[in-house]
Symmetry: D3
Subunit: 141 residues, 6 copies
């Protein structure tokens, strides 16, 4: 068993807000991240998959791995307003924790088809800034 990680980037805007709370409660909870006009980040996404090496000595073909993440995650999220344009965040707060979960859910069913040895999705790590990040290892992780 070996793990392979690939890093991706996208730039997006978001606003932290819980519509069940009052404005005062939102401000107290989320601080400047609750600013009504939104703000943004260069998000860095690290996807880690795990499995056995195939007869070619690799876990998966890197091109296919990159295309999968680009198509399902980076293209729909890059240069977008996450609250407004992503279906998952219509009624879910786009916190860095939830972004990691959403990316996991977008990738989970596809990873097994990437290689002959049926690799597994191991972890999705999302950096909101170089100093703040969330990592999700799945419902059983």
């Amino acid at each position: 068993m070996i793990q392979l990680s690939q890093q991706f980037e996208f730039s997006a805007s978001h606003r932290l807000h819980n519509s069940d709370l009052s404005d005062e409660q939102n401000l107290a909870l989320f601080g400047k991240c609750n600013n009504p006009h939104g703000h943004g980040h260069n998000y860095v996404v690290t996807v880690t998959i795990e499995g056995s090496l195939d007869r070619n000595g690799i876990l998966v073909a890197l091109d296919r791995f990159e295309s999968l993440v680009k198509q399902n995650v980076i293209d729909p999220m890059d240069h977008r307003n996450l609250n407004v344009e992503l279906p998952e965040f219509q009624d879910m707060n786009p916190s860095v924790e939830n972004i990691a979960r959403v990316i996991w859910n977008r990738l989970q069913e596809h990873v097994g088809a990437l290689g002959d040895q049926q690799p597994k999705l191991k972890s999705v790590c999302v950096h909101e800034t170089p100093k703040t990040w969330a990592e999700y290892k799945g419902p059983a992780g």
Copy 2:
């Protein structure tokens, strides 16, 4: 003469758009940066000042230098929508080039008062992503 540089960060959203152009022209020129709902970045700002060392062997007191940039640049820009909330970008495109010029203009008049030796503002460099940045050295630079 010696140069001292200090790096700062702010997270903001913006949209590249020229209201004198048609939607098609804006899209052709700015691509996905013209997305109507905006997107965002972790901006990194490097401010460089230049001058002679004072009798204490420093160019300026670092605390005062940091406070000046924090008060005039970082606090008003951090977690903001640059197009909507910054007066300079009401009718100026918030490109990384213009952000560097705006920061220069916000700092220029104050730098001389930072130290006994009247240091000068030498350069403002703004990273929009780790791979794209603009540097402005003033109208005479």
Copy 3:
């Protein structure tokens, strides 16, 4: 379950030394890190906590997390001589391994109060330089 990590920095001096050993033994064991006048580092501390998301879609309020670490770790250690000024290192060698353990002990009891879901301290990682670091996951880790 999701993990949230936040990175912090402090600059301090230290000296590796075991007073039970002779000068020759200390020098053989710690090399230049045993220099009697001490040396220093920009330490980078990564604190990782783990738990379930609350009804606001976050693990903890980031401001409270940052304040907790700042108050208990960064403020008392920043710009200090670890051997001389930290109570824990009066009779413990301030190796990067021990610094990680000391930070864990300073945070452990407070993390549960950070969020409604009682998050747990998962890991403390301390970089002494960008190339050398220690990670402590607690007595059961």
Copy 4:
């Protein structure tokens, strides 16, 4: 139990190729990494060991840890053509996954002798670029 990690670098050239496949199959699988004249990378190797602290408050003497990796991994691989000059890659594809496994095998038997507490090799992580890396935690990992 605590983990200590040390990072190393080497620059080498390699070519991804499986001699059991046709030229077309190799190209389809490995893309430009199959270029017949080879290409190269600045590889970054992170070695993590784990154990209990000794009476000096350290896991191992850092100098000895560095020497071990330098002698067994960095010196034989640095500024080399991996396919041509490394015995392990005479009939094994020098993918980043296999490089991690080869480094593990070169270090595994020696790590226990590094400290009184018999530390264990915990992980070998190899970055081929800043955005692509493989991590191997041993046959039982």
Copy 5:
């Protein structure tokens, strides 16, 4: 006048060698970089252009700038053996200094056409490793 910089990467192999020198002289001069089977690097290229902002508040359209460098520099150099596959290095040593000059020459004539204001190529900086780089500012620089 403002400067805009964009960073690119390519991975390649090379060998430092002067065919006018003896084997002993080459080894003495270039050390392990003279290894006959070559080695490789992840090269990082930073291209800086300079000019006035146009009526859209930008120096050049970033997409066009990136395409220009990709087509003339990155595509022909990425995953190549520089000594064998690049025409410029048939009889020129592919030192990091010469790589910077070759990239300058490949870009120089095209930069003026990137924007209405005829921007100028200001600098080409090539990192061979994160710690070693050469910068070329043109024959008049």
Copy 6:
């Protein structure tokens, strides 16, 4: 003319203090950097030299350049207390600005002998932290 830069690191402790000032004045001026027991940093030194390429297509042999800086700067400063152990700082404040000047003075006379084309020392840049640095370009710079 081309520029070649090489980066080095050393870890040291220091204290900012002007013995001509009162304790109160020192504290007001230098803040926590005036802490009497000192603190420390991982300093990063970038040395840039400039000149014409020789007949081998290089500015200088990299090994000789590295040895020069190691012998004159890194070895005497690494793992040292700058105030106590460096002759230049016996009566000069070891600010990051002065450290850059001291390194320039230690290298200046030796750089010309590094290559046939008599390269010149162009710049010494010292990072005290990743966010604060000073650059010195010589008395005429």
